[in-house]
Amino acid sequence: MALEVSHVVGGYSQIPVLKDISFDVQDGELVGLIGLNGAGKSTTINHVIGLLTPHKGTITLNGVTITQDSQAYKQQIAYIPETPVLYQELTLREHLELTMMAYDLDHEAAWVTAHDLLKTFRLDNKLDWFPANFSKGMKQKVMIVCAFLTQAKLFIIDEPFLGLDPLAVNDLLQLIEKRKQEGASILMSTHVLDTAQRYCDRFVLLHDGQVKTEGTLSELQAALPEAGESLNDIYLSMTKVDRS
């Protein structure tokens, strides 16, 4: 079992945003974290990457919690934020090098991977650019390249599909597929439900800080038989129940 989130209560302040949520992500599995704005997706992710400490409950990654050994825990994670953030003083080349240093990668091998990725995302001629000169989509691609440079066991991807061009979305999905084959797990939050439906193995539906349902698409369909076929329908019916 790769990631296990168990009975986590947490949030930014003393008032909990997450109310006792539990789910897991298996090796080689892509789990979609689905929910409305403010449902607690980003808060969940912030807890998993260690930016926030749970008030209650535990988050275990291959048997390690962040309090036991933060370095071993973080070593296994690669994160792609929703809004790209870069170091303003570093060029693209230096961002890649910094990632290699931080994850203690073998530089030669990592550069081979890096050049492949850069070519895929058409950044290979921009190695000496500063972040200030990148468009938002390009910055997002830099985040993707940096994350997939690592040999992380768990990739955490926050809303990857907005802002990327269709070609890049396709390339990203292929990258995810490849890493899945190699046994890595992926936790991805998104609003783009038809893409999620096609690619995710399982779904965790968050609503108001709680896990409403989780499971594969067929499990969700079985649980809510009158809701409809697609993830979109199930999701809408789930939010409707709450609204009435």
Binding site: I49, E89, E97
Partner: protein, 408 residues
Amino acid sequence: MTELFHERLQRHLREMAKYLRLVFNDFFVFALLFFLGGLGLGYSNILKHLKADQWWAPFVALLILAITAQIGRYATLIEDADRVFLLPKERAMHAYFVQARKYSLVLAEIVQVIVMFILTPFLRVALGWSLMEVILLLIAQLVLKDALLRLDIASAYQVTGQRRMNHWSLKWLISLVVLVPGLWLTPFLSFVLILFIDVFSWLWLEERWPKQQIRWREQIKIEDNRMLGIYRFFNLFTEVPMVAGTIKRRRYLDGILRLVKPTHSQTYLYLYSRGMLRGTEFSGLVVRLTVIGMLLLYFVRGQWLPIFLAALFIYLIGFQLLPFFQQYDDVVFTHVYPLTEQQQVKSFVKLVTLILAVAAALLWVIILIANPTVETAGGSLVVELIEVWYLARIYTPQRLARAIKNRG
């Protein structure tokens, strides 16, 4: 639109007043009075010994007046959001621009009058002018500023395609064309020339602007730069949140940066060293303090004073560097990367040690040049070594430990 400008102007003036109160604190006013008093005394002494009809006098007057004519920029107070929200009101924006120009003009003309007032005794003595001539030149100077600010309003529109009418070279050209005949021949000529230019530019603009689009982006950029300049000035006296450093590539420093070996334990040093050398905020601080210290030490004589001054400047530099530790706290990767806080502290201490050592070495060299006695040179070397070691290796980690604890 006129109302919008006045609303903004009020807000702007309130903000300026807030900062000006901080700038003109008692100490600064006192120092300023002394400084102005000294200048005034010097000026009146020069005037006393001045002979009439000096060949260089018109050059001095020309330089002063031409520079003064450039003072007082066009303050539009427009904001980034305007190019979205005010876009549908583009034609009406002209009234706004006119109001803005009025305000800028008043400020600029006050400066012109003050400078002319100060310059009057000089013109009368060195050029032997009558009061009438001085007044004619004053009027010419006022109209000149009016014309120059019209160029600014013109360049808010795309009246001349890609070329901007408020380029500094054009402004200088007009200033010289107007002032040179006035100073060497007769001020009446300046007066006629600038009246002609001003009226012509006015007619030309009135004819052109209604058919043109506003250059929103450029205009916003100009205004942002203007405000940044003001904030930078205030930043010398007090903390201004709007001033963030800029980043320069500085390729020539890559040689130094390459000395950091790209290994896991050096990750933070890799990041910090680049941030330090390419960001202008902290590197500028270090360079400024070091240069001021060096200048001071060059002129100071004595046995103990140089030692004390060198120690003071090293302390100031070391102290000001501490906030740089948190420079990357808001970049999420600083927390996500599998790195420890010990590594971060260690790298930072290394950086501080290096910077202080270089600064200390430079200061010491100056001491050696200015005060080459065994006691001063030797004493300052010992003091500097102990201080750098203590500041970087003992004091900094202690303070950082506290900063990390507060981080939560």
